[in-house]
């Protein structure tokens, strides 16, 4: 066989040049970054690295933004300094996906060598990262993801999974009961005479949505309501006409459920108004992120939600400071709660420094076991709710009652939340739209 000519193989000199350039550039880049990593390893052990897990991109990116801001604010307050330790935050992006989160978390452990983990939003991410934390024995503090599924996993092997130290949010049933109580009280008082006692459940199709709706479902049934349907929708779905028309034809007095991503929840509320649904809507999580009212408009009037309010002066101060710095209106449950939990973490770090003189994974694990889980260490000046405390009985949930941790039930009007329950905090009675 005769050889091929060079000219045909390399049809295009510029092409070759271009590829060679790309090749060498990538190799250089690899080399450069590689050596950079080597330096990190040698950093002095006075630096404490905290991996902050949050949905920084993906459908819940807005929550991630608030997480970032609140955590920064809490650590700026102590100037990123605990004793003579410097705090370094490592952002771990969960992308709202269990698998990606687990990968990123493991990456942060092996690459960035974090000393402990902090925060998280979704419970399915909790479930996957719990495994990673247990594998590497890294304590992870105050993840918000709160459904039963996290508790179940913890209880399946408390020894192994206690590294997932405390949840920032109790199991849904502890909070969702307030909705049923609110409605029942309104009926007792004669504020509302529902045309029937039928309720339809809906929810985003994941651990959170199903866990919440299931808890609420049995609570409604216990109170003598009939649950006539259940609908699960995919994360990010924005088309609800068929489902809402079905609910409308079922003629229920109440529809109750939750969705956690802004496009879904706002489309749902908006479209419920468009199809003329004549039911009271319980929508847990509508107000979780700041800009919901821009998306729903007046369709959100009369919608019932459960969210802590910026009631205390400290809370209002935090909220206005937050808005000033980041140009975002913080959501109470994302920004606010995160701020409290970050301050709790600061307290944990300080305690660790006082007791052991050194902050590292091992000592933090001891603090988690001896102080946090036992209820010795609490945060009692939270901006969102009075006291954050874990006891061996409630662990991994925080203590939930009116003195410790509870959220008021609210109803929206013109984008403003009015507290309708409990009695002590009430701003007005539950309002019922005409004809319901």
């Amino acid at each position: 066989m005769k050889g091929m000519s060079m000219g045909r193989l390399i049809k295009n000199r510029w092409g070759v040049l271009f590829l060679v350039l790309i090749l060498s550039a990538s190799l250089l880049m690899m080399g450069g970054c590689g050596s950079g990593d080597g330096d990190n390893e040698a950093s002095d052990d006075k630096t404490v690295k905290i991996g902050v897990l949050g949905p920084f991109t993906g459908p819940a990116a807005r929550v991630g933004e608030e997480f970032k801001a609140s955590t920064e604010m809490a650590f700026e307050a102590v100037d990123y300094q605990i004793g003579d330790h410097e705090i370094e935050l490592v952002w771990i992006d969960s992308e709202s996906d269990a698998e990606k989160a687990a990968r990123a978390y493991e990456q942060a452990i092996v690459k960035d060598k974090i000393d402990c983990g902090f925060l998280n939003w979704h419970s399915w991410v909790s479930v996957s990262c719990m495994e990673v934390a247990a594998k590497y024995k890294i304590p992870h503090f105050f993840s918000i993801g709160g459904t039963d599924i996290v508790n179940e996993k913890y209880e399946s092997d408390p020894e192994k999974y206690f590294y997932w130290v405390g949840k920032g949010w109790p199991v849904p049933e502890k909070l969702s009961i307030s909705y049923v109580t609110t409605l029942e009280e309104a009926i007792d008082k004669g504020i509302w005479e529902p045309r029937n006692k039928k309720v339809a459940m809906y929810g985003v199709d994941n651990d959170w949505g199903r866990g919440f709706a299931n808890a609420l479902r049995s609570q409604f049934e216990d109170a003598g309501w009939e649950v006539v349907s259940e609908d699960w929708v995919a994360l990010g779905e924005t088309e609800f006409y068929p489902m809402l028309n079905k609910l409308k034809s079922l003629d229920v007095s109440v529809i109750a459920g939750t969705m956690s991503d802004p496009p879904s929840v706002s489309s749902f509320i908006k479209q419920s108004r468009e199809v003329g649904l004549e039911s009271l809507i319980i929508c847990d999580g509508l107000g979780w992120v700041g800009e919901w009212y821009d998306l729903t408009g007046e369709a959100s009037d009369y919608v019932i939600d459960q969210i802590p309010q910026w009631a205390t002066p400290e809370a209002q101060k935090f909220a206005s400071e937050f808005e000033e710095r980041y140009g975002l209106e913080p959501g109470a449950n994302s920004g606010g709660l995160c701020y409290d939990l970050a301050r709790f973490l600061v307290k944990v770090l300080e305690t660790c420094d006082e007791q052991y003189g050194d902050i590292n994974t091992e000592n933090l694990t001891k603090i988690a076991k001896d102080e946090v889980m036992t209820g010795n260490l609490t945060l009692d000046d939270g901006v969102m709710t009075s006291v954050y405390q874990y006891t061996p009985e409630t662990f991994p949930d925080p203590v939930v009652d009116k003195e410790h941790y509870i959220f008021p039930v609210i109803q929206y009007f013109d984008g403003e939340a009015k507290i309708v329950w409990p009695e002590e905090w009430k701003e007005q009675d539950l309002q019922i739209p005409e004809g319901m």
Binding site: M1, K2, G3, M4, R8
Partner: protein, 270 residues
């Protein structure tokens, strides 16, 4: 693993059948290829209507007719691209009517296309090797050697390593012929091999066709170009609107009134 698969898969390349000498003898009497009352319809249109042909071994058999007469369709029926609705096709005495295109190739019928089909990013040699590897018997010499021989045979003028996408039409036709012959066929179907060629190139191709015939391969050719057909064919059949209207040696056909009426008449306007 690979061998296993081939074993399990049975006939990845089914070996050729009907090659025993006794069959051949019978065939010589019956003719190498016979179509019996072949009819092919597309929806309401009958493209080939009740056509019976008998092609004897060693002939160059011409198939002519005006545009849309069903010549290419008949060729496609023989080569297994279409299945006729009615009628049968016998090759070497075997009924091959329902054979798929690749199986037809294994029985010893090869073809070329009206618009050249090639494997553009393979070299010319590889193009021909495809035919030698998959069309021929397994126990022959190396496909590479066969391919080189075939390219030599068709006088392919360029380096055999050149890619098929880089050669011109007449060269592609040569490659296609070489590929078809590399399948070790007994019968070669040529579909308008002269289309788009200059008179000089035409000369090259018609000489080549005669050389192929001399090597013992029977040829059926569909052609528009009268000069070529009359020059090389031993026998000619004429199709018009799907039906065979005449058959015979070239001289007879040229004088046949029906043909002049149906075919040559329209041809002159061209």
């Amino acid at each position: 693993m690979l061998e296993c698969w081939v074993l399990l898969g049975g006939t990845l390349d089914s070996t050729q059948q009907n090659r025993n000498p006794l069959n051949r003898v019978v065939c010589n009497i019956l003719g190498l290829l016979e179509t019996k009352n072949v009819t092919k319809r597309f929806g309401g249109l009958t493209a080939v209507n009740d056509v019976s042909l008998n092609v004897e071994e060693g002939q160059i058999f011409g198939l002519i007719g005006p545009n849309g007469a069903g010549k290419t369709t008949l060729l496609n029926c023989i080569s297994g691209v279409y299945k006729p609705e009615e009628g049968h096709i016998f090759f070497n005495g075997e009924d091959v009517t329902s054979f798929s295109a690749d199986k037809i190739c294994h029985t010893g019928i090869a073809r070329t296309f009206q618009i050249v089909h090639s494997f553009p990013t393979m070299s010319v040699l590889e193009n021909v090797m495809v035919g030698a590897t998959f069309g021929g018997r397994k126990d022959r010499e190396k496909p590479e050697n066969i391919a080189e021989k075939m390219l030599d045979f068709v006088d392919f003028p360029l380096d055999y390593d050149v890619l098929a996408q880089d050669v011109n039409t007449v060269q592609l036709k040569q490659v296609e012929l070489a590929r078809a012959m590399a399948t070790e066929c007994n019968l070669l179907l040529l579909d308008e091999v002269a289309a788009g060629l200059t008179p000089g190139e035409l000369d090259v191709i018609s000489k080549l066709i005669l050389r192929i015939k001399d090597s013992g391969i029977t040829i059926i050719m569909v052609e528009h170009l009268m000069k070529l057909i009359m020059g090389v064919c031993d026998r000619i059949a004429v199709l018009s609107f799907g039906q065979k209207i005449a058959e015979g040696p070239p001289k007879e056909i040229a004088e046949n009134e029906k043909v002049v009426e149906a075919y040559l008449g329209t041809k002159r306007k061209h």
